[in-house]
């Protein structure tokens, strides 16, 4: 009797990871993202070792060229440009992550409820989804970012704090960004609810929440992961636009977008200051999109469009 060579069982996630690892663009994107995140987290470390400050203004170092601890020179208020970029990156990247996660969670919840409940609930939720999709998003975001929070019953102390500006952006991006994921999850839920294992669970008396969280959502998760990744890029772009217009991140906090607020005056005498933050946004979002498309191809080999 000859031995049969048994290969260890490979899980679907191992397969997916192997497919992703063959995608050079996605790996490059992933490497760039990890490098950027590591640099941004290490911002205080750079400040200390280089002996510069990303926040303290200094009239004598205004527009100073690179050198003397200032790797990229100093900005229009004498702050170190390099560490300021890293500090802005902390805000831009974390808002991108939180905004994408928030809108995906909300979208998953709404999509799952609509797809499982069907009937009138489904109709109402999908009408709302369509309504939000056809709204002029940027003007609405500007209004939401400019709303007077005291009229909604928040205290003045909270409104003036930096945290309010930060969480406000995360919240409004979430409120207007969930529609895509909701549609994806609704479609998956509608299809999965017909499958035998769901019928079997229902026949055994499982509750709707149990069926959704144990049987349906784990099977509908891969397109949501892809959508969340791609949403992170969109959120970063949205945040940068709002901050650029002056309704996003407020000083003393800074993000890549808010560093560009007075870029229009800067391009005359210090164009590189107007260049760096935008270049970082571009590189970050391209990297995220590479990863997102790589995940898409890895999760669903049939739709390999590249």
């Amino acid at each position: 009797m000859s031995e049969i060579a048994l290969e260890p069982a490979i899980s679907v996630w191992t397969l997916r990871w192997r497919r992703l690892a063959r995608d050079r663009a996605a790996l490059l994107g992933l490497a760039v993202l990890i490098l950027l995140i590591a640099l941004c987290v290490a911002a205080p470390l750079f400040e200390r070792t280089l002996g510069v400050s990303a926040t303290d203004t200094d009239l004598f170092t205004r527009f100073s060229p690179p050198g003397d601890g200032h790797w990229l020179g100093a900005d229009d208020a004498g702050r170190d440009e390099f560490t300021r970029l890293l500090q802005g990156g902390q805000i831009s990247l974390s808002i991108g992550l939180l905004g994408a996660l928030g809108s995906s969670l909300l979208g998953t919840l709404i999509g799952a409820v609509a797809g499982y409940a069907r009937g009138k609930t489904d109709m109402v939720l999908m009408r709302i989804t369509d309504g939000i999709i056809s709204l002029p998003v940027l003007p609405l975001l500007i209004i939401l970012a400019a709303l007077d929070l005291s009229k909604l019953g928040f205290s003045q102390d909270f409104i003036r704090s930096g945290a309010a500006g930060y969480w406000r952006i995360v919240l409004i991006v979430t409120l207007l960004g969930w529609t895509g994921v909701a549609r994806l999850v609704r479609a998956s839920t509608l299809a999965l609810a017909e499958r035998e294992f769901v019928l079997a669970a229902r026949a055994q008396g499982a509750s709707a929440w149990w069926i959704l969280s144990v049987h349906i959502l784990p099977n509908a998760i891969s397109p949501v992961i892809v959508a969340t990744t791609l949403a992170m890029g969109r959120v970063i772009l949205t945040e940068s636009a709002l901050s650029f217009l002056g309704v996003g991140i407020q000083p003393p906090q800074t993000s890549w977008g808010s560093m560009l607020t007075n870029a229009q005056e800067l391009i005359g005498n210090a164009p590189e200051l107007a260049l760096y933050p935008g270049l970082l946004i571009l590189v970050t979002v391209i990297a995220i999109n590479f990863v997102g498309d790589g995940l898409q191809a890895a999760f669903d080999p049939r739709t390999d469009s590249r």
Binding site: G131, P139, D148, L282, I286
Partner: protein, 320 residues
């Protein structure tokens, strides 16, 4: 066909009413109220006289009452006055709408043509270096912040080379050359941002169509490549692309808002930002309503374009 148009228009009007209420409620949550400028400008105003004025202008009424009053006036064509420009809102919005339509219209046509062209080339030469180059261009278009791209264009073509104006509108009575030079940079910025997503959709739609049996049949019958692409493939590939274009109208408008503000183009985007920043309630409200209406009209037009491209889709509910 007429029945379809009627039901769609009716649906759009109902949606517009629902949205007008939401926008009205949101505007009411903006800082201050329409009388605080008056109060600030007049140091002698007592709290009592301000309260009297509030009741005269019904600012103290509950939200639904104020909305109904506003709606009644609006339905009679009275959209109120801009409190900063001191002119009827419509007199301000209509020219701005015209300027925006010029800018977005040109950008829309150019970006659609370029995207379909690039998408077709990429699909027919799948995997080649030209496909990769187009793909990279598309990624850059999706990922670039439009406002920053505008600044880069200004830096290169206005500051460094001095070829084109950095922004502003052509003067009244200026010739076509002035219009072209003022439009070139904002249109270029919008087109670059728009073609990213569109090219990718056009490419995948084209790939899908090129794999169909009828294309193989047409090829087998010896049809010329260009004719096959134009008559058989492109027309079918355009159907999903049209959906994206229609849904992307809001995206185009959001891009125009940023681009208009950077290039000082006197359009709706610039007006909306000025109105919101200056707490010009009536103006912000009407701008948003007009924008929402434009997007609704675009979606109806997209549905009409479907039937023109694909006669199998019947809008009346009855198969032809």
């Amino acid at each position: 066909m007429i029945r379809f148009l009627a039901t769609r228009t009716l649906g759009a009007i109902i949606t517009l009413f629902a949205k007008s209420f939401i926008i009205f409620a949101l505007i009411g949550l903006m800082p201050g109220d329409p009388l605080d400028l008056l109060a600030q400008a007049n140091p002698d105003a007592t709290p009592e006289s301000i309260a009297t004025l509030r009741s005269i202008y019904s600012v103290d009424q509950p939200l639904p009452d104020r909305y109904v009053a506003w709606l009644q006036a609006a339905l009679h064509g009275d959209f109120g006055f801009s409190r900063i420009q001191h002119r009827p809102v419509l007199d301000i919005v209509v020219p701005a709408l015209g300027n925006t339509l010029v800018l977005t219209g040109i950008a829309f046509v150019i970006s659609t043509i370029i995207a379909v062209f690039l998408g077709t080339i990429a699909a027919t030469r799948k995997g080649s270096w030209i496909d990769r180059a187009i793909n990279l261009l598309a990624y850059a278009g999706i990922s670039v912040p439009s406002f920053w791209l505008s600044l880069v264009l200004i830096y290169i073509f206005a500051v460094k080379l001095g070829w084109l104006p950095a922004g502003g509108m052509p003067h009244v009575g200026d010739g076509a050359q002035s219009w072209a030079s003022h439009l070139l940079l904002p249109v270029a910025a919008l087109v670059m941002v728009e073609i990213g997503g569109l090219t990718r959709y056009a490419r995948s739609a084209m790939l899908e169509v090129l794999g169909q049996d009828y294309i193989r049949t047409a090829r087998a019958k010896g049809i010329a490549n260009g004719r096959m692409l134009l008559r058989h493939a492109l027309r079918n590939a355009m159907i999903p692309v049209i959906t994206i274009i229609a849904l992307g109208f809001g995206h185009l408008f959001s891009g125009a808002l940023l681009v208009e503000n950077i290039f000082a183009w006197r359009g709706m985007g610039r007006l909306i930002l000025e109105a919101i920043m200056g707490n010009d309630y009536n103006l912000a409200l009407v701008c948003l309503l007009f924008t929402t209406a434009m997007i609704l009209v675009a979606s109806i037009l997209a549905d009409l374009a479907y039937t023109w491209l694909d006669p199998r889709i019947s809008l009346g509910g009855r198969r032809r």
